[in-house]
């Protein structure tokens, strides 16, 4: 009899196993458990508001903000302003902060940066919690075991008003990362490999675990988490380790958190193993990221007009370091523009101190202020019809960086830097 009861109890427990994402959603919803197929109303721990919310009535202003201490505001997509309209957008953001007593405000000063970069660097991404922002690459904060999601402008209005939003609980695909990337390779190459092998992941969460994670810097993990927007993942969550927790504690000492780990008996839609040692430099051909990459070694040898490194995915110090290493003592090819945009002003300053900016500029690069800039075709490197660009940013969509008649190839920072030197798509291993 006792045996039977305990057996039943075990079966009950088996059904209760949750993935990391499910656990974070359950906590945010105040529920014991959630299961794929549920829709849950959740409390948002951190609401990230950006300059884009303040134009064209995109985000309507709530009468009252639910909790000013849980709201962070960042001017990023086009900062400093490039036009009276964008200047008014920034002004509206400042007025919003003043009116509602929001103190975490990243204005056009030394705290400036791309929102997802700042969320990482200021410890706003808190392990085990839920973060929301209008922007699609919000999943970036998943590198910190934070369930983070882009939710669009109207929903941000609702979040600012109520502190709540909803999510479908989706099935989860687990990626077990093994081994280590070979030198010059980047998390960008990992995502292109995943996007090639497995296509889009719409209505699925992805989770990253495995020994391979411990070999990746937080920057590198964040590049991978950020790029999960490109496979249409719902949430992208990394398992936390000491490096991750120390990063958050150091930057946000007052915050208390509890990282969430998948139960041993969690139910996954699929578990996939990725051997990082086998990954080679890849380049996604124009217009889509998914199922569209080939080895850089086999890429067409056409002239490249612009090479860009930047964005929330590849504007980190790691990216500056590798770009500087690739171009050191060399010159950018005739007829190629090489543009590098840091993820934040703090990264910019540190890249200057470490000599990366000097190396890049000596090679012929234009190093710009931190902003989204060329990534979304707003500023600092817009493409003309017929031009070809290789970019270490997030997207290669038609028309994204300027003219719809331009072609955009997407690759890692090392590949972009090598391409800037040769003026045609180049495997960085050929240069070093």
């Amino acid at each position: 009899m006792f045996y039977m009861i305990s057996a039943e109890a075990r079966i009950w427990e088996v059904a209760m196993g949750m993935t990391m994402t499910e656990k974070i959603l359950a906590r945010a919803a105040g529920l014991e458990t959630v299961t794929p197929g549920d829709f849950v109303t959740v409390n948002v721990e951190t609401a990230v508001v950006i300059d884009q919310n303040f134009m064209h009535n995109r985000m309507r202003e709530p009468k009252k903000v639910f909790d000013p201490d849980k709201v962070v505001i960042m001017l990023d997509h086009i900062a400093p302003a490039d036009s009276p309209m964008r200047a008014s957008m920034h002004k509206a953001a400042r007025q919003f902060a003043d009116k509602h007593g929001i103190r975490k405000f990243h204005d056009v000063n030394s705290d400036l940066g791309i929102c997802h970069q700042l969320v990482a660097d200021f410890g706003y991404a808190v392990p085990g919690t839920l973060l929301a922002c209008v922007d699609s690459h919000t999943c970036s904060a998943g590198a910190f075991n934070c369930a983070a999601r882009g939710i669009g402008h109207p929903e941000m209005s609702y979040v600012c008003a109520t502190g709540q939003t909803w999510f479908p609980v989706c099935e989860t695909i687990q990626y077990d990362l093994q081994g280590e990337l070979v030198p010059l390779l980047n998390a960008k190459d990992i995502i292109l490999k995943i996007a090639n092998a497995f296509g889009e992941h719409a209505m699925h969460n992805v989770e990253f675990v495995g020994l391979g994670i411990s070999k990746m810097s937080m920057n590198s993990r964040r590049t991978l988490a950020t790029m999960c927007a490109e496979i249409s993942a719902e949430f992208a969550v990394f398992e936390a380790d000491e490096v991750c927790e120390a990063h958050v504690r150091e930057r946000n000492p007052s915050v208390e958190f509890e990282a969430q780990f998948a139960d041993d008996d969690a139910d996954f839609a699929e578990k996939r193993i990725i051997d990082l040692t086998e990954i080679e430099p890849l380049v996604a051909y124009p217009d889509t990221v998914v199922e569209n990459a080939r080895p850089v070694m086999q890429a067409d040898q056409e002239h490249i007009d612009q090479a860009f490194i930047g964005s929330c995915a590849n504007g980190t110090l790691d990216d500056f370091e590798i770009a500087a290493r690739v171009v050191k003592g060399k010159k950018v090819a005739q007829g190629t523009r090489f543009i590098v945009t840091p993820g934040s002003q703090a990264i910019y300053l540190e890249a200057i101190r470490r000599g990366y900016v000097e190396t890049l500029m000596e090679a012929g690069a234009i190093v710009t202020n931190s902003t989204c800039g060329a990534c979304c075709g707003y500023s600092n490197g817009i493409l003309a019809p017929g031009e070809k660009c290789v970019t270490a940013s997030t997207r290669n969509f038609k028309g994204r960086m300027g003219s719809p008649e331009a072609e955009i190839f997407l690759a890692s920072p090392a590949t972009v830097a090598a391409t800037a030197i040769r003026g045609k798509l180049t495997d960085p291993r050929e240069l070093l």
């Binding site: 709530p62 929903e155 997207r395």
Partner: protein, 170 residues
């Protein structure tokens, strides 16, 4: 609740940069919708009319969280049915009052121009030309209610949550 309309077919991985290109976002809000699909289907925005529906492939609406669904609504699109829909785009559809339904098999089920009836009680799609019915993926009534209300702003207005008019915008 059902929606009937003439269908426009699109392929896989239709992204929001195609619907609302970055440079277009500099223009006044009212002028932005007419640039939808200018890069991949020039002239479409002039042909689409009130009450039409879009039938998409896999991963429809992937990309940026920009108000692309709002552009389609302004052009008269009332409903989007696709093999699969990006989660953020689906949410934006609901919040801008555009009905959206994931419906595996829809690409082969519909030819461009077919009149279809999308039913949001059973979550089915009926091809009026062939008379056949295809089952879509269900979602909770609360989300359907948001779509039916014309999006989240009308709901928030009713609840007295919003400043009206919006004081802080460029």
């Amino acid at each position: 609740m059902s929606i009937t309309g003439k269908s426009w077919k699109f392929g896989d991985h239709i992204n929001t940069d195609l619907i609302l290109p970055g440079p277009v976002m500099l223009l006044p809000f009212d002028e932005q919708p007419k640039f939808a699909f200018q890069a991949n289907r020039p002239g479409w925005a002039e042909k689409v009319s009130d009450g039409d529906v879009i039938v998409g492939g896999h991963n429809f609406g992937t990309g940026s969280g920009r108000p692309a669904a709002r552009s389609l609504r302004e052009l008269g699109v009332t409903c989007i049915v696709a093999e699969s829909i990006n989660g953020l785009f689906f949410r934006n559809c609901a919040n801008y009052g555009v009905f959206a339904l994931e419906c595996p098999g829809i690409s082969d089920f519909i030819e461009e121009g077919d009149e279809i009836e999308v039913e949001f009680g059973q979550f089915t799609v009926r091809n009026k030309r062939t008379g056949e019915v295809l089952q879509g993926k269900r979602f909770p009534n609360v989300i359907r209610d948001v779509m039916e209300a014309g999006g989240i702003y009308p709901m928030m207005e009713k609840q007295g949550l919003l400043e009206d008019p919006n004081p802080l915008t460029a």
